[in-house]
């Protein structure tokens, strides 16, 4: 399988008033097309920082980051924004849906981002396709206030999928959901991997982590692969 993400020796240090704090220490990570990877660890272990670096929200202090073989460790913000739009989809613990927009408009938000312009008809088709992938095309005209938590998270996943990303980054997407709804959301995310999309899932939930192809433990900034029985 094609290597999508290849992190080597990623280090991130937070500057403190008294002393610096190492968040990530020489992290190596490879994600392939269609592969799902779970990253687990205690709060403050650096999971979200790692995801920030993966999603080009933040830059590593040391190490290299190859995306589909291209070094993107030190990208200027303008190019990083373009790559975020074209290669990545993001799902957060809180859904971050805009309450004044319908589900379809929330999904379309990722298409109306200044990175090219799609005609209205094509935009609508892409939005409905993404909503259909997560099974809520019938809720396209509903506003978030009229949807359950699970439905809102599915809208957020559709928003992440609508640009047909290469990698899906999910930061505790089931954290605000009950077990049953959380399971449905994980299934929706895993469905994307069947279409060749890589998935990096940050989670506290061991059961959800177990459903991924690989599980990695992040302890004190060091990433180690958990060997499954």
């Amino acid at each position: 399988m094609t290597v999508l993400i290849d992190l080597t020796g990623i280090t991130k240090v937070l500057k403190g008033q008294e002393q610096d704090r190492t968040i990530l220490s020489g992290v190596d990570l490879t994600v392939r097309a269609g592969e799902s990877v779970a990253i687990v660890g205690r709060s403050g272990s650096g999971k979200s920082t790692l995801l920030s670096i993966l999603g080009l929200f933040d830059r590593p202090d040391e190490g290299s980051y190859l995306l589909a073989g291209q070094d993107i460790s030190r990208l200027p913000e303008r190019r990083a924004a373009k790559l975020r739009s074209s290669h990545f989809g993001f799902v957060f613990q809180r859904f971050f849906l805009l309450k004044h927009l319908t589900a379809a408009q929330n999904v379309a938000m990722a298409l109306v981002n200044g990175q090219g312009w799609l005609p209205r008809r094509e935009r609508r088709a892409r939005v409905l396709e993404a909503l259909d992938q997560v099974g809520i095309a019938h809720l396209a005209k509903n506003r978030p206030a009229r949807m359950s938590g699970g439905e809102q998270q599915r809208v957020a996943i559709a928003r992440a999928l609508v640009r047909r990303p290469v990698v899906l980054l999910a930061d505790e997407p089931t954290g605000a959901l009950d077990t049953e709804t959380g399971t449905a959301v994980i299934e929706a995310l895993l469905a994307a991997t069947t279409r060749g999309c890589g998935l990096v899932l940050v989670t506290h939930d061991r059961d959800h982590a177990a459903r991924m192809d690989r599980t990695l433990d992040l302890v004190d900034g060091v990433l180690t692969e958990r060997v499954r029985a």
């Binding site: 979200s48 929200f57 924004a81 971050f96 805009l98 927009l101 200044g114 990175q115 312009w117």
Partner: protein
Amino acid sequence: MRRLSGRFRSALVIGLQGIRARKLRTLLSMVSLFLGVLAVVVVQAGASIAERALLANVELTNGIDGTKNLYVPPEPGAASAVLDTVEGRPDATAMIVLPAIIGEPGVRPVNEGAAPFDENWGSSGEICFPDGTCQPNPEPTGQAVEVRLTALTGDVRAFRPYRPYRPRHGQWLDFTTMPAMAPRLVLNLEAAKGFERYRVPAEMRVRGAIAHITPQFVGVIDDGDIQPRAYVRMDELVTWLPVNTLTDPGTGGELQVLMTGSTPVEQVLTSRLTGLGLQVGVQTVDSLERQEDELALIRLVFLAMAGLVLLIGVAGILNVGLATVGERIEEFALRRAVGTPRSLLAGIVLAETLLTGLLTAAAAIGVSVGGLKLVSMMLGDAEPFLQNMQYPWDAGLAGIVAGLIAGILGGFVPALRAARIPIASVMRA
């Protein structure tokens, strides 16, 4: 170019969504900006209307800008040369002014020398002759009014826009009909005042006329002249007054030709009159140019005041804009996360404030248009220049520009703030 177009459209779409989502805030921004934009619109409209009013008054006495006035000395032969040249031409009108007394025969008029009726010009009670000798006027003062009789070869309103005064009571001279034996007169306001005040017989005396004339009054106009004046068709007057006497120095007549700027009449007439040994003077009306500096200064002072009010409105937009960006940190961080560039985030905020500014400008223009119509309806009778007043669209343009400037000034700082929101805001939420 395509990228710019995409960003522009995105900013517009998202900006409109933002306005629709925050209607109350948009309304509050508009309220704070409204007075400022309205002040700019009103000042601009007021200046334009004042300019028109001022110009209208000047045009009444001097003529429309660009009109050429050719002054001909009152010498024998001048009148026939002028009348032959301008007869039937729409681009030139000859005007001969003569003293005329309407009323009882053989009496001195109540306003000798065609003086305004409320002013005493100190009549000497003497008759003076061209050779300089004077003798006491033997005529007793009686019921007669002296006017400056102004004979016209065509419709002079093409050059001097006289305003019909209470048009329901009369009409302007009709040059398309056959000339009448009883000359039709149109009075100016001062003459109308005199004939309202003094009941006089309809008998007109003009020096050099072959008989006393019985005129008929057909209308009243406002020509801006303080002296009583009566307008008459030249062809109706020459029935009673031979052409060669029109410019007889003894009659005290004045001869003037009003022309458009590009007519060949000027050259022909100048040649003919020069051939007669007469020296003519030509003046072009340039009232607007002469008043421009004065008007510009007045406009500048009022615009400065309007600018101050506008600044207060800008502060209002700025305040609401900053508060709105503070509330939308997560939205902007999320937009950055999905690939929206910083410049577009700034563009979204600017688009919202610009649209707000434009909406406010539209409201201010609407109110000023309505206000002008109302003023025109209520005060149109008292102030004739307000009748049929067209809205000065340069004021509308000034309002739109003011709205756009306010939108840019008020949205600039919030736009910068929006562009600097870190994406981590959504990760740590």
